[in-house]
Amino acid sequence: MNKAAMNNPASAASAAQESGEIRLVNVAKQFGNSYAVRDINLTIPHGSYCCLLGPSGCGKTTILRMIAGHETPTSGEVWIGDQMVVGKPPVERGTAMMFQSYALFPHLSILDNVAFYLKMRNVGKEERRSQAEEMLRRVQLHHLKDRMPAQLSGGQQQRVALARSLITNPKVLLLDEPLSALDEFLRLRMRGELKSLQDELGITFVHVTHTQPEAIALADMVVVMDTGRIDQADTANMIFDRPKTPYVARFMGGQNVLTGKVVRAGNEPMRLKSASGVIIETVPASFNMGDNVSVSIRRDRIGFARKSQASTEAINELSGTIIATEYQGSYVKVTVDVGDGEPFVANVSDDIYFRDPADVGDAVTMSWKPENVHILNKVDTGEAGASFLDDSH
């Protein structure tokens, strides 16, 4: 299946020529007195796979719907390619949306569902049927063309929804939690198919999800959102490895967040001292003595041993009592109570762990290298984010 096959004759104006770049400028959306999203500035490059990631109620679906034209921003501008699209009907935006519930028309057959767009453009019956059949063949559902949506499995319904979106020959495909209704096995399979479809079509995909592994696996660009604002927009690797804020570090998982006061600055490696007295050494950084600084340390970069009689002045070392162990296959997730604040988590590779399996209640010491300490741009306040909105959207 090549790209040329995609461009059906009815809408020969090729998607590839027009840019599917999306630009949001100072976008805000208000529902009643509360903001669903605010201060949104984001550029999604043409042809990229972008995931909007965040917990439910963070406003990611609102952003998607504003791009689609199903929601109008209260202020700000939405650009697709070189068009400012606020106020334009969805069909003039070159976007296609795949709904969370798929929104297949229950009273129309699969074929008529896929052909709906062509029918709205007054394409003749024969012509639209043959085009829709062609599209159904592409998603391998041609044999089910006369069924009604209710007679299809969840995975099949999703393919129909995909076919119905793609027949509009969009330059941007918007996916609202497309995998959330599928079981684990199908989810992984469809995830792969979405990725290769995007590679093949070369158009922009914007995919809303609340699942971190899904975002990391799919996206060229991950946008992490927190209560109506964008915390970080970056490559998946940057988001996971070098989060900018404590919120992103926690939300992506895989990180421990520590906060301390700068006790050594200058050209030497910087040192922080946490409230409970832990000394954290990092690479040199431009902070002043006495500044509060938060850092994150990846769970899988943590050394792990039974507690020794180490000196209390040890650097990059933390002791505590195990409160939970979870076997994860290739590693063991060990949760340690370190006396104050949130528990510290170390992902210990299984061969190291099982050499001397420690259990709940055992005292352990964890350590890490200065180069594995990542300095966050924002000091941890312990809160998820500014709580200026209610949870309704």
Binding site: T72, S75, E77, M84, V86, K88
Partner: protein
Amino acid sequence: MSASHSYGSRPWTFYALALLFTLFVIFLYGPMIAVLILSFQGPSASLVFPLRDPSLMWFDELFNPRRVGDVSGAFGRSLPLALIVMVLTVLISVTAGFAFRRRFKGATAIFYMAIASLIVPGLVLSIGILVTFRYLGLSANWYTSGLGAHLSWALPFGLLIMFAILGRLSPSYEEAAYDLGASKWRTVKDVVVPIVFPGMIAVALFGFTLSYDEFPRSWLTVGTKNTLPLEIWTMTTNVTSPALYALGTVTTVVSFIVIAIALGSIVIIQRKRSRGK
């Protein structure tokens, strides 16, 4: 530049349909309000506007049987009849609603029988019941044949409402109650009834008003003494004073009180629930 773009204004269809809706509401309520006002007509006894020397004389007239007929007697029959129909409708349609949650032989037949009873013209049924009572040598009476005629129309309505309510009642509530050691009776009393209670009030409202206002089914079945709608019907032909409007006002007020009680109690229950008692 963004000023030239539309930021979520309502489409013109909203205003067109809002206008249609407003006109419809005026159409619904306007005449009723006209009657309400004209029932306070003065001694000029004019049946049309303007209202001159407002007074309560026509309400007085209303309960003077020599002048306008047996209005108070009709009230005295219609109210108890409506209350009996209400109670029976709730009891019978609620129990039947529960029966229909299971599969049993004859369920479809009984369901279609109820639907047919709903759509059969009231006059046909009226004749049928009259003929039946004739053959059995019974005389038609509001509390026998009249009651039956009203039930044949109120019960299917009640049943349909119960279907809508019980359709939303997941069996897992009851299963959870059994799991927690509740007896069958306790489950019904402490779990099911509280959940379906607002629906039961709706059924009661339907039962009451369908009976209180029913005309065609009452016509041949209530015997020699009229219920209220029949009394009004006779008055339309021989009473040419605003007393007719006064009667309209009185019955409408009774209806509104019943509606207010029903809706009010539903609101109170929902409020209590959302507050967690």
